[in-house]
């Protein structure tokens, strides 16, 4: 018994004395976020940093709490999400102003809002393409025609967020008769495709929109703010691995919407692992 305790405490000491504390990479719990987390992790590993992955964390606010508390060091975020859901600012359509405002606020919180990855991923209000001609649906404001019968189904976050379902209904003057059904975000596409709900909120970069023959409604009243994809990092990330800031900076503007749709689809439809997909991208 004594010997076991001794061995254990030695082991504990050894782990404490490890020279490099790993950089902890986080991500939210949906396909694209996990994939981006994986791409960030692999880029850091390539630069020689030790990396610990905490991907698939809960939603936006779980990630935000984690990074401000220092439980993770870096994760991918979207400008509109940071603006409305995290910083509780009113939504704005001005892309540059949103980036500047978020960047300034993040600096005050000890976080670096950079670099942008080069693509936008906005909320996409999605219906079945077969329903579009039947009910004359093209824009979000057209949903008024079906508010009495359409069954909406969303992930948990969209129902709660200021830039989510309630705000959208207010902005467009919609009054859906059916309360929104909530489920795991990844299941909403299946629910829509199998006729169990009629309206979902996905991501504009989801490859499944085309693959499942769905239609993204146009945000004709510009409810959603711009959602540029940006890496959030703790300002002191360089202390854990000196090469990290440069490695992350090298990712600036390296991805575009078409690439993300293709990669997301290969995970969602073809069931490939984000780690493998990310690795192929590095080559």
């Amino acid at each position: 018994m004594k010997r076991t305790i001794l061995a254990l405490s030695l082991l504990l000491l050894a782990t404490c004395k490890r020279a490099h504390e790993p950089i902890v990479v986080g991500s939210k719990n949906f396909t694209e976020s996990v994939l981006l987390g994986e791409i960030i992790a692999q880029r850091l590993e390539k630069a020689g940093c030790t990396v610990d992955r905490k991907l698939d964390l809960g939603g936006t606010l779980v990630c935000d709490h984690a990074i401000t508390a220092g439980s993770i060091d870096v994760y991918p975020e979207y400008s509109g999400t940071a603006l409305t859901a995290i910083l509780h600012r009113p939504a704005s359509g001005d892309r540059a102003a949103v980036m500047k405002s978020v960047s300034d606020d993040y600096a005050r919180r000890g976080l670096k809002w950079s670099p942008p990855l080069g693509f936008e991923n906005t909320f996409a209000m999605i219906v079945r393409k077969s329903d579009a001609p039947k009910f004359n649906l093209r824009r979000i404001s057209d949903l008024r025609l079906v508010e009495g019968t359409f069954r909406p189904g969303f992930g948990y976050e969209f129902v709660e967020r200021p830039d989510g379902w309630n705000g959208l209904q207010q902005k467009y003057g919609l009054h859906f008769a059916e309360p929104a059904r909530t489920m795991d975000l990844g299941l909403t596409y299946r629910a829509l495709a199998t006729d169990q709900v009629d309206l979902i909120a996905g991501n504009s970069t989801d490859g499944l929109i085309d693959a499942l023959n769905l239609l993204q409604l146009e945000d004709d009243r510009h409810f959603f703010p711009p959602y540029d994809t940006v890496i959030v990092q703790r300002s002191d990330i360089g202390k854990k691995c000196a090469a990290a800031p440069a490695a992350l900076e090298s990712m600036r503007n390296t991805l575009d919407v078409a690439t993300m749709r293709r990669l997301n689809l290969s995970i969602d439809r073809d069931h490939r692992s984000p780690a493998v997909v990310a690795k192929e991208l590095q080559r």
Partner: protein, 206 residues
């Protein structure tokens, strides 16, 4: 908020009640069968045992692609809960029936009771406290597991919990968790009372 909690609690009760009713109707006869056909019964109990070991979230996930009984929504939640509730009900029925004093059974045979009369008038009443004990465990487990059904669109109090977790909103998590805990306590007290009542009435067999 209050309205939301009331609606979620209502859904929760419906899911659990539906699952419990089906599980009871299926579970008690299955228990009787296990006692009558010992060898086959052992296999069946083992299968039900194994179902119980599947993590609940995985079981919900397995049911999504299954036609008719699965899918996304309340049906999947109910089916999963039925499967989970079977074990305590079947096992306690078996325990209750096996725990009956053989002398009593012999006496019943000696007074000329048929198989069916013996079961309905002697054995099941004596096993009742144990069966109610099984229902009590099943209900408490089902109320807890039902919260996870919200991940597959099952509705109920889990919806509030999942939404609270997504937004790190403790108030909302509690809005789901407290009524669920209260429901579990109520179920525990209710079936506990039935268990004691039947034990007093029919003497304790288990």
């Amino acid at each position: 908020m209050v309205e939301e909690i009331a609606r979620a609690t209502g859904e929760h009760v419906v899911i659990v009640a539906a699952a419990m009713i089906v599980a009871t109707i299926a579970g008690i006869p299955l228990g009787i069968f296990c006692v009558r056909r010992v060898r086959l019964g052992k296999v069946m109990l083992r299968v039900i045992d194994i179902i119980q070991t599947i993590p609940s979230l995985a079981l919900f996930g397995f049911l999504i692609p299954v036609p008719y009984i699965g899918g996304i929504g309340i049906r999947t939640a109910i089916v999963a809960l039925i499967l989970y509730s079977l074990l305590p009900i079947v096992r306690n029925t078996v325990t209750g029936l096996n725990g009956i004093d053989p002398l009593i059974r012999d006496a019943a045979i000696a007074v000329g009771m048929t198989d069916r009369q013996r079961l309905m008038n002697v054995e099941l009443p004596l096993a009742l406290p144990s069966i109610f004990g099984g229902l009590r465990i099943a209900a408490v487990i089902a109320i807890g597991v039902a919260t996870i059904g919200a991940a597959v669109g099952g509705g109920g109090l889990g919806t509030l919990i999942f939404r609270g977790v997504a937004m790190v909103d403790t108030t909302r998590i509690l809005a789901g968790a407290l009524p669920a805990a209260a429901l579990a306590l109520i179920a525990d007290l209710l079936f506990g009372a039935l268990e004691r009542m039947s034990a007093r009435r029919f003497g304790s067999a288990a």
